[in-house]
């Protein structure tokens, strides 16, 4: 059974149909890339999955249960985490604190316990810190633990975003243009990192414009154009698909790098 399935999902903003009757299935533990020209509706799909807004029509099913109308904070607790196209780190918090905040939905000390400094709270806070350090280790960011996030080099900030998303212990990770603004060597590192994450058993949904990255790591590629799925298949098939080539180049629309 699919880990995540979109069934006949549509989203309109006023008169604009951003996503049109989309069907999408993500097999568990695979990397699926969603590509398409700018404005094709990729980010809208992400926003619907993560509960930023509900679909106008259709169903989003995760682990056999529908996600429609769940709040974002509930969805992440169910096991779906994401990153954004533009970096959204907590700039005036340290790298470690960014990851710790990412673990919020997996921990539970409340206000009363925090005030009373109960043994439970103290133990939990120590566990949070250790776990966060482990995650930073995995992402080779541990040496920056106590730096402010805004002081990190660009590529590391991108990696920290993924680290923070992973802190929520997701089983499905949505990456929205993780390679945007990266140089080729940073992109190559990112590629290895995404594969490493997939190998830990999580499912990955990737939106990306860097075709080298997409074709290099995806197991399935789905192509959106004007909110509709125009093609789906293995990377090699997609590269040869007439419709896809036309969507990108055909009607004079510009292809982004």
């Amino acid at each position: 059974m699919a880990h995540l399935a979109l069934k006949n999902v549509s989203k309109s903003f006023g008169g604009l149909l951003a996503v049109d009757s989309l069907d999408l299935e993500l097999p568990a533990g695979k990397i699926l890339s969603l590509i398409g020209p700018n404005g094709a509706g990729k980010t809208t799909v992400f926003n619907m999955i993560t509960g930023v807004y509900p679909p106008t029509r259709g169903k989003i099913i995760y682990d056999g249960k529908t996600l429609n109308r769940l709040k974002s904070s509930r969805i992440v607790a169910r096991g779906i985490a994401r990153t954004f196209q533009n970096i959204r780190l907590f700039k005036s918090m340290t790298v470690l604190e960014n990851v710790e905040v990412g673990m919020h939905c997996r921990t539970k000390s409340g206000a009363v316990r925090a005030l009373l400094r109960t043994p439970f709270t103290l133990r939990e806070e120590r566990a949070i810190e250790n776990k966060a350090l482990e995650i930073l280790e995995f992402f080779s960011l541990r040496r920056y633990s106590n730096e402010y996030a805004s002081n990190l080099p660009y590529g590391d900030q991108r990696r920290l975003e993924i680290a923070r998303a992973m802190a929520a212990e997701p089983r499905l990770l949505l990456l929205d243009e993780p390679a945007a603004g990266m140089n080729p060597s940073e992109t190559a590192e990112l590629m290895q990192l995404i594969l490493k994450l997939r190998d830990t058993g999580i499912t990955i949904l990737l939106v990306e414009h860097d075709m080298k990255l997409v074709m290099g790591i995806s197991e399935i590629v789905s192509v959106l154009d004007h909110g509709q799925k125009i093609a789906e298949g293995l990377p090699a098939e997609i590269q040869k698909n007439e419709k896809v080539i036309e969507a990108y180049l055909g009607s004079g629309r510009k292809k982004k790098k």
């Binding site: 993560t50 907590f90 005036s92 919020h104 000390s109 806070e125």
Partner: protein, 306 residues
């Protein structure tokens, strides 16, 4: 005439007044940090704290607890005032601000002003228009350091204020909820994506800020010996100035801003024509804002730091 003792005395006074301003300023800055709203009813919450303290303290004094269980009495007075005002703060947020969270900024500000007038009039009706005397429990005893007389009351209040601020810093930096709060202040959408319950975070802010203001209210009552329904106004103006001076949204900024405003006010009044003390205080504020519009600790950009 300006002996060491006199100067030291004034410094203690400055520290006292500065701590009071700082405690109130924290309420402004934290609420602003989380929901970008100036809670104009904060001065009234401070006054409400002073009144609850008065009521509880009077009751305990009448049964003789002030003499027999001094520490316990203080704990109960402060705890009751802070708890009551925290509930008031949460109710205020629920009734006056939450429904307007997605409305224009102006609507929320008007709602805040409305709540300020409402609470102020409520206290006028229930507590009267004249000064109400606080039981004087500290007396004049104290210690004399280099010619400066520091009363037990001053020592107690300054220590408590410092303890509250240290506790707040620890809460915000060391605990899970504190971190969630700072994250929410920096980016609400992202925080929600990470599973932080924004409503809960806002509620906690409206517990902590008003509770600190209530503590300041009780301190003012204990120290000056009287409270009145409209005493929140002048403290509100000064504390607001302190929050702006320190950089609205910044917790350390509010603390330092409070100490600066309190310090300038007391020291100016001690050595120079005291009628000009407020003029000086606000001139200082204008100068700081002229050269650093975001305040001393404020972030230069739109992002707010707690």
């Amino acid at each position: 005439m300006t002996s060491t003792g006199f100067i030291l005395q004034q410094l203690v006074n400055a520290l006292f007044l500065g701590s009071i301003y700082a405690l109130i300023a924290l309420g402004y800055t934290m609420v602003y940090g989380i929901i970008e709203l100036i809670n104009f009813a904060h001065g009234e919450l401070f006054t409400a704290g002073a009144f609850i303290g008065l009521i509880v303290l009077s009751a305990l004094q009448s049964v003789g607890w002030v003499d027999s269980h001094f520490i316990l009495t203080m704990v109960i007075v402060f705890a009751m005032a802070m708890a009551y005002v925290a509930v008031l703060g949460v109710a205020l947020e629920h009734v006056a601000y939450r429904p307007l969270r997605d409305a224009s900024r102006l609507a929320a500000i008007l709602s805040a002003l409305g709540m300020s007038i409402f609470l102020s009039n409520g206290m006028m009706l229930s507590q009267g228009v004249s000064d109400r005397a606080y039981p004087s429990i500290f007396g004049a005893e104290g210690i004399t350091v280099m010619g400066a007389k520091i009363t037990n009351g001053q020592i107690f209040i300054i220590l408590l204020a410092v303890a509250l601020m240290v506790a707040l810093q620890l809460f915000v930096h060391r605990t899970r909820l504190g971190k969630a709060m700072r994250a929410t202040a920096q980016n609400r959408t992202m925080s929600r994506m990470l599973g932080i319950n924004i409503d809960q975070t806002i509620r906690i802010t409206f517990i902590i800020g008003p509770a600190l203001g209530a503590a300041a209210g009780v301190m003012v009552g204990l120290y000056y010996g009287a409270v009145r329904f409209d005493m929140g106004f002048i403290f509100m103006i000064k504390a607001f100035a302190a929050a702006i001076l320190g950089g609205i949204g910044s917790i350390p900024g509010a603390m330092i801003g409070g100490l600066i405003i309190g310090g300038v006010e007391v020291l100016w009044a001690a050595f120079l024509p005291s009628a000009w003390k407020d003029v000086t205080t606000f001139t200082l504020l204008i100068l700081v804002l002229y050269f650093k519009p975001s305040g001393l600790w404020g972030q230069g950009d739109v992002e707010v730091r707690v």
